[in-house]
Each structure stands twice: as structure tokens, then as C-alpha cells.
């Protein structure tokens, strides 16, 4: 029975390493920042989670196993957020989409979004800066 769990864990680890490899291939082959992020977030997240799950199965319910499960939770919660931040930052820094891209709704709406943001900042209550100055 322990052997069976061990084999399943090994299968998870092998599959995870394969998906990590595909993700890295995507980083090299795909044309621009945004497409590369797609490969980095999806393949590498699943690959890493799969490796951690395999580790958890092999180690069992001891210190390392619980830590591996917690790491899965953290990776799943943080990887998309960081990808989202990088993509938004890249777009705002003026990096164009690849020339083969078919549409860019975000740059069409950027001016309106910026105006909205500006209005929100203007309406925000006075900052403590004024207090320190007086």
C-alpha cells in the first residue's frame, strides 16, 4: 500500500517537472511579455503544485507534507496576482503587444481609465502631509 502511494507521488512529481519544462519552453518560444506570462503562470503553477503534491504523498502527514500542502495554497493564491501585476505594469510602461495580436481593448480604454483614477485621487480626503507642514 505504501509502495502504491509512493508510485502515485512519483507520477505527480514527473508530470510536474514535465509541465515546468513546457512552461520554460514557452518562455523561450512565445513572442511578447504577455504571452510569456501566460506560459509562466499556467504551466509553471500547475507543474510546481504537482511536484509539491507528489512530495506530500511521499512524505506523508508529517512536517514536510503539511508544509508542501501550504505551499500549494500560497502558490495558487500569489502566482496569478503577480502575473496580473507584471502584465498591468508592462502595459502601463508602454510595452506594445506583439504585432500579430488581433485586438487591444485595454489601450483603447486606457485614457478613460486614467481619468477615472485621477478623479478618485482628487476626491480622496486630504493627506496627512498638510498636517505635518502646519
Amino acid at each position: 500500500m505504501i509502495d502504491f502511494v509512493h508510485v502515485v507521488g512519483m507520477v505527480f512529481i514527473g508530470g510536474g517537472v514535465a509541465f515546468d519544462l513546457f512552461g520554460c519552453l514557452g518562455l523561450v518560444r512565445l513572442p511578447d511579455v504577455y504571452n510569456r506570462l501566460q506560459a509562466a503562470t499556467k504551466c509553471v503553477t500547475l507543474g510546481t503544485c504537482s511536484v509539491l503534491l507528489g512530495t506530500c504523498l511521499i512524505v506523508g502527514p508529517s512536517g514536510g507534507g503539511w508544509r508542501a500542502l501550504l505551499c500549494i495554497l500560497f502558490v495558487v493564491l500569489t502566482a496569478p496576482v503577480s502575473a496580473h501585476a507584471i502584465a498591468r505594469g508592462a502595459h502601463r510602461a508602454g510595452i506594445r503587444l506583439w504585432e500579430g495580436s488581433v485586438s487591444d481593448a485595454y489601450s483603447e480604454d486606457r485614457d478613460a481609465l486614467n481619468a477615472k483614477q485621477q478623479a478618485r485621487n482628487d476626491n480622496a480626503p486630504a493627506t496627512p502631509q498638510t498636517e505635518t507642514r502646519t
Binding site: 509541465f19 512565445l30 506570462l37 501566460q38 504551466c43 512536517g63 508544509r67 496569478p80 503587444l97
Partner: protein, 164 residues
């Protein structure tokens, strides 16, 4: 109430990180968890009454998670296939997607779920208008209604039951 929930959660994470448990470690964890809960309790759990509803847990565990894991696997096979294909069949672009969700947690989960599923990645959210800007690796629909059905429709009806 919300501080108590965060305290229990933080202590649980501490216990799992420092397994196996012993008395001094557990006491230190309780101290740290209490500090964290005291300082940031109001930031994380804004509507504690929602946590009392068991139907929401049921939806999260048995409907959202299986759908999410299945879509995630499909996403990975799809992206891996595109990366390995010698002709590199991509047709990227950013499209608008409409969403009905309003709460912070609901929007966060929707955006994260979209980022982790087939060829789509959230770039920005316009909360006032309820519009998500999604980068797709293979754009099928550029028109907003069709794109919404295609991309956010898979999760939105489930997340509405859980977080709204």
C-alpha cells in the same frame, strides 16, 4: 468576530508550518497569531456573517474547486500543446469581459481563476463599470458579450453563490 476568525486561521497555518507541535511552539504561535489578528483583522474579513452560511462552503468545496481544477488541467494541456506545436498557433490580444460581481473577494477569485485557466490572463479591472481586461493567447471573440460568456461565464455563476 473577524479578528477571531483571522486568529484561528493564522494559528492553524503556524501549526502546519511548525509540525510536529510542542507546547512552547504552540504558545509562540498563539502570540504571533494574536498580534497579526489584532493589527490586520479588519483588513481581511470584512463581512464575517457570510462565513456562517454552510451552503457557501458546500459550493466552494464541491462545485468551485472541481470546476477550477478541471479547467486548470485543460488550460495547461492547451498551453503546452501550443508551445510544443512547431507552427506556434497563437492569436493573442486583449479583450473586454463583463462581470456582475461586486465584492472584493469575489472579484479576486474571478480574476485569479481566469488567470489560471485556458489561455487567459487578467490585466486590469474597472470596478465601477464591472469590466475585466483579459489577455487571451488565442482570441476567439472580440465582442464583449460573447467573450464574457466564453471566459468568465464558467466561474461567475458559482462565485456569485459563494461570495455575493
Amino acid at each position: 468576530m473577524s479578528k477571531l476568525i483571522l486568529f484561528v486561521f493564522a494559528w492553524l497555518v503556524w501549526c502546519l508550518l511548525t509540525w510536529p507541535p510542542s507546547l512552547p511552539v504552540l504558545l509562540a504561535g498563539a502570540g504571533v497569531a494574536a498580534l497579526v489578528a489584532y493589527l490586520t483583522g479588519d483588513l481581511f474579513v470584512k463581512r464575517p456573517h457570510l462565513l456562517r452560511n454552510p451552503v457557501r462552503y458546500w459550493y466552494f468545496c464541491f462545485i468551485f474547486l472541481p470546476v477550477f481544477v478541471w479547467q486548470c488541467l485543460r488550460a495547461n494541456v492547451d498551453v503546452a500543446w501550443r508551445v510544443l506545436n512547431p507552427r506556434l498557433p497563437i492569436r493573442p490580444g486583449i479583450v473586454r469581459v463583463h462581470t456582475e460581481l461586486k465584492s472584493d473577494v469575489g472579484l479576486t477569485f474571478l480574476a485569479n481563476a481566469i488567470t489560471l485557466t485556458p489561455g487567459t490572463m487578467t490585466v486590469d479591472i474597472d470596478r465601477g463599470a464591472g469590466v475585466l481586461y483579459i489577455h487571451c493567447i488565442y482570441v476567439k471573440e472580440t465582442e464583449i458579450e460573447a467573450a464574457s460568456r466564453e471566459i468568465s461565464g464558467r466561474f461567475e455563476y458559482i462565485l456569485r453563490e459563494i461570495f455575493e
